[in-house]
Symmetry: C2
Subunit: 234 residues, 2 copies
DNA sequence: TGTACATCAGTGAACGCGCGTTCACTGATGTAC
DNA sequence: TGTACATCAGTGAACGCGCGTTCACTGATGTAC
């Protein structure tokens, strides 16, 4: 038992080190962008650079860990916001809450946002297991659309019809996140989704620096207008 | 005269070199991302690395030249597409032509797209004179909205009202690109714009790799649905 | 038209720096008997 | 409970590489008289 406890202490210390390295790496990201430097991380932690290799097999491994963390942390934020609205029938409120949570997350961690939604890191290939965490926010949105639709509270006027090639793929997405919904509605949801992330990229990458001073208000307006577009009513 | 001619020959050779260096740099971008290396460029051109300094004062200077080129080349593509539609009253056709031209440009030069619409290059600050070239495509879009509106062919139903803080800023944008148009309509135009670039970023940065096989068709659908959202009718 | 001088492109060596990764090692901590 | 051994974290030196930028230089090309 004592042995076990001691063993788990070592394991816990190790887990803490894994985290501390990631934290140092995140701080580095804030300065050097995606040009993550293992040596700089080691320096910040007061270790010798080769010591990092006790914890991560390579620079790419560390990058993968950071990317996974970013996806999961954004996913959690979206999920938490989605369930925070007490009135489950308030679909518009849920949509707004999730959209705001995503922006809050991104604005607080612009470099982690850039890591997962910015230009790909040259030479780095994301492994397969980043796919599931990366769609967590889409699942949250899908649930809102699904609920609104099955409650008959989704206005579906003026829908453009997606081309034939797109339908099976839209249907597949819908099956995963909003099974009752038609392809044109699913398409709209993806479009609204795309707009929100487009807005965040524009904001965080500085495109609206000379246009809007209150970027939060501008985002809020977009969230609202996209809700109209989606057919969500209050 | 002969002297002049010779002088201009030298100037022309110099201009060609400026271009060739940029071309080599663009090829490098395709491989290493924004990690532009002067030495690699010199190597590719069969020169010694210091020779580059006869043409560009620093790495940042060259980067600025590339960024300016990218903005202007995208701007030209958008303008050309905008004027290519013979029937000026076909606002929907103009919108689609411009949107398609932008995608065609981006898909042909993903790394230049990333340079201007991806995550900012760490440590690099874009100089002021990139602002004007960067808004050329917005001007093209603005003209279409303006024409559609003054022709009474822009459906303006269900417009959300922008918050007070946003109005003067939206009005200022409108004044520059679509002077007859109201703030809510201007906001919608910017939103449609944001959606298109969001779509391109998602496509080029690989977000829809596992979702859509025919990304051109998906973009086309978005262009169409955004036209509906904007109130453009055929 | 021919010659002396100025301008410019490109060279090659060097400075000072940073990087990821490997490897043999030293000690400390945990484990088995 | 005490001791011998195994595991593991962290060290320090090294490998081999790449980078941006400076500087004194060599020749070739253009200019002025």
């Amino acid at each position: 038992m004592t042995e076990r406890a001691k063993g788990s202490i070592r394991a816990r210390v190790r887990a803490e080190m894994l985290d501390e390295i990631k934290n140092a790496a995140r701080r580095q990201l804030a300065e050097g962008g995606a040009n993550l430097s293992l040596r700089a991380i080691a320096r910040e932690m007061g270790m010798v650079s080769s010591a990092i290799y006790r914890y991560y097999a390579s620079r790419d491994d560390l990058l993968t860990a950071l990317i996974l963390d970013a996806y999961n942390s954004l996913g959690e934020a979206a999920e938490r916001a989605g369930t925070s609205v007490a009135d489950r029938a308030d679909h518009l409120g849920r949509w707004a809450a999730v959209a705001r949570a995503i922006r809050a997350w991104a604005v607080a961690r612009p470099h982690e946002y850039a890591l997962i939604y910015g230009s790909p890191v040259p030479g780095y290939v994301a492994p397969e297991d980043t796919v599931l965490p990366s769609i967590r926010p889409v699942v949250v949105l899908g649930a809102i659309i699904e609920d609104a639709f099955t409650a008959g509270r989704l206005a579906t006027t003026e829908l453009s019809r997606p081309a034939m090639v797109l339908r099976p793929e839209l249907a597949r997405v819908a099956q995963g996140v909003a099974p009752s919904v038609s392809e044109p509605v699913m398409a709209r949801a993806l479009i609204a989704w795309t707009e929100l992330f487009g807005a965040l990229s524009f904001e965080l990458f500085g495109r609206f620096k000379n246009t809007f001073t209150d970027l939060e208000a501008w985002y809020e307006h977009q969230v609202w207008d996209m809700a109209t577009f989606l057919g969500l009513r209050s």
